[in-house]
């Protein structure tokens, strides 16, 4: 077994186990790697509320609007970027929403219109709103939590999920 094979196997396992979360499951993995995987922990998602954050007509390009999701204690921002981005919602594919609690230490992020980034005054972390909240530079061990959006026929923008753990809570939906 060469090292290259080990690396490749390790990578495949990793993506299956963590990337695809529960759906992939242990069964899909067994036999791939030399060290058989054991039973995966349950990583079932929490159930998210569907919350109207704004209507398309409320949004102007590059003018962020403060929102909260999944509840009032979890601040965020919704912004129409003006250019289509991966993961963008709406007819132009350019509406995105993010948590504005820095995933490092929970300081409130601020939006820079000049490069469409969210920035942390606590420890200087920067997140790119045009790249799914990718950390440009910073201290957080995760990219920025993005709110999954759906746009209704009447232009209402509904949040219906979150793709990372929000700072300061061990369950995105508090109970």
């Amino acid at each position: 077994m060469s090292h290259c094979d080990r690396l490749a196997d390790g990578g495949r396992r990793f993506f299956l186990m963590r990337g695809a979360v529960a759906a992939a499951g242990a069964a899909a993995v067994a036999g791939v790697a030399s060290a058989p995987a054991e039973a995966a922990p349950s990583l079932a998602r929490v159930t998210y509320p569907v919350t109207r954050l704004a209507n398309l007509r409320d949004l102007k390009v590059n003018e962020p609007v403060q929102v909260a999701y999944p509840d009032a204690d979890s601040p965020g921002v919704i912004v129409k970027l003006g250019t289509r981005v991966e993961g963008g919602a709406g007819p132009d594919g350019d509406v995105v929403a993010f948590s504005t609690l820095c995933p490092h230490k929970g300081f409130p992020l601020f939006y820079r219109t000049d490069d469409r980034s969210l920035n942390c005054p606590g420890h200087y972390s920067r997140f790119d709103c045009e790249k799914g909240g990718l950390q440009i530079w910073g201290q957080a061990t995760a990219n920025l939590a993005q709110f999954r959006l759906r746009v209704d026929r009447n232009g209402d923008i509904q949040a219906e999920g979150v793709d990372e753990l929000i700072y300061g809570r061990l369950s995105n939906v508090l109970s």
Partner: protein
Amino acid sequence: MAYKRNIDRLPIPPRDARVQNVTCHFCIVGCGYKAYSWPVDRQGGNAAAQNAFNANLAEQQPAETANWYSPAMYNIVRQNGKDVHLVIKPDVECSVNAGLGSIRGARMAEMSYSRTTGTQAQRLTDPLVWRYGGMSPTSWDDAVALVAEVTRRVVEEQGEDGLIVSAFDHGGAGGGYENTWATGKLYFESMKVKNIRIHNRPAYNSEVHGSRDMGVGELNNCYEDAELADTIMVVGANPLETQTNYFLNHWVPNLRGTSLDKKRREMPNEPHAAGRIIIVDPRRTVTVAACETEAGKENVLHLAINSGTDLALFNALLTEVAARGWVDRPFIAASTSGYDAAAAANRTTIEEAARITGLSADDIRKAAAWIAEPKQGGARRRTMFAYEKGLIWGNDNYRTNQSLVNLALATGNVGRPGGGCVRLGGHQEGYSRPSDAHVGRPAAYVDQLLIGGRGGVHHIWACDHFKTTLNASEFKRAYKRRTDLVKAAMDGVPAGDRAAQVDAIMGAIRQGGLFSVDMDIVPTQIGTCAHVVLPAATAGEMNLTSMNGERRMRLTERYMDPPGQSLPDCLIVVKLAQALERSWRAAGKGDIADKFKGYDWISEEDAFNDGYRKHERGGEHVTYARLRAMGTNGFQEPATGYQEAGGQGGRGNLPAGSTAAPGVIVGTKRLYSDGRFGKPDGKATFASTQWRGFQAEGKQAEKDKFRFLVNNGRANHIWQSAYLDQQNDFVRDRFPLPYIEMNPADMAELRLTQGDLVEVFNDNGATQAMAWPTPSARRGETFMLFAYPTGVQGNVVSKGVNEFIIPNYKQTWGNIRKIADAPESVRHLTFKPQEYRQA
């Protein structure tokens, strides 16, 4: 899209979770963490009485809360053979980091080995031997017997110079007192190996010989000094990214002015202001930007010197402070020697320095004033000097190091609050070994020996030269050629016929082959050439002691099992030593065999007691039990005594008026606070350090020939050579390739756009990177991520070294050309400027 874990709920640590001390095993800062573990089928509840945080977790927790952990701080691991939940979370009680976690250390849990979650599946679990055209798992006894047999035969034929060793010599994941002692005992006591080198350089030497030879140890202050200094002068370092929480928790408060109360309290008889900072670095780093944010631009002096010209600057600063009468005459008289001679020898005018460094004369004068102009009322200005790889791996290491120490001594800034002249460090420290005097100085240039066909067997302890050496292109070619000879010989004989195997190996070695033995925790690039691989445990899988950049010693407790059959390095040494003893005895050499006695250790604590306890200054006061009780704060080395619980007397030399709390090891806050230095007469020695241009052979010619400076160093996301990060999805997604920062105008001339794959090349070799347009980069000056697995910067670094075989990575020049458009793996990335700007 950016990598997301899609984890939206994590288990709650129960009230009775096990809590253990952890010191981050990555950088020298050594942040304190706590490991929480509990059985996998249980968890706590939201109510305060039901969780380990004693907090109502049904509510949103505020900024900087201690009652939360991120997904990267979580895993499921084995502990004493059973699955447990593991949370490794920054410790708010630790004075080093006060609850801060860096992007590296706060991923320790996620970067632990787990067969359940699949993390770090790359970890080595079994001894491996080259058999049947590949690496095959085998038993410890089988693997070490082969290593011992070949090692003995090589030593018999070539002497101990035929055994070449590459070894860690640090702390944290880079060694620890247990493991440095064990390897040191094997190679320096049982044997007298002199062809040995350290993980990031081609010889066995100090990176700061210059400072030590002046009687000034390089870790002489405490982290609090960064809060107390009037001015911090930092040279060739980027602490926001490389000593993150030291910078955030101790430098920033000074720059913000929030440490003013502490200054007034500890130094009441002088005026105080918020700190100022001088940053000597050719590159505008994120550290510069952060300092400007916190202190205001008027309190930050970024001296963007021509690469490699620091020495001329420091000599001019010494000349200027002397001419102004800003030197500390009483200190010089009482605690130093050779000042007048050195000041005369190093005399450099500001204009001359301006010409060499490219700085303005005014900025050099301003720096001198910030360093040494007396404060209102005549009080001495307190300046802390800090340096790291920009100096250490820069031009003329020895003299440049000494010229900075000259400046610190002349201004009375060693051994006093708010002062210090310190390296910032890379790994933690954890060095305890028998004397290395036989190695000599200059030490052997081991890489050149290996390239030149010397030696027959190579033992490698946690080093990956293929990523972390200079002249790496040539090194890899030679190493592969030599080790392939042995592989071919082994392939020609049945693996089970040990005698025939060893004969075949020895035959290949006589033809210029090299037998390679690799001890590591993960598969490495040099390990692809190895014939035997032995799996090691890392911190947390074993108890491990180290000290940080202010000599703060802590014990990381074993909180999980090592993977498979892997063992702590010190116990691998036991197996090797015992196998060597057997091999020599079987060969009828009982006298040599007897040298390998004394390894009857069962645990890492036995190695600690045999090494540190018996051999290090103050070691007699230090035990595992005492360290465990002292948590993540530990004590600062050297220990001077132990204050028994209850405050009843104690042993050792307790300082007068000691206010040590009960049951503590008494340490040393600053070195040289009594004004006595590490020379026989107690006086620090000034050094003559004349400027001599680019010292290493071939550097000036390389600069003249090639267009771009290929400056290099670390990135915030990544620890060291990415040996763990390369299997961490968060990092692998962000940096599938190393980046090279380039000025946008340079990119336009080369018809490059962001993310394009470029080749960096010169007469030493070639490597690859993805282009990152960086407006703050100067024209013709690039910065490339160092030691990255998918593009090794060392490939283009020349073999030129200083007189003590210190490499010169920083002064590298090359050309750049486009290889391909941005590959798919980088198209989702952002290439916006890294620098933070205020709203």
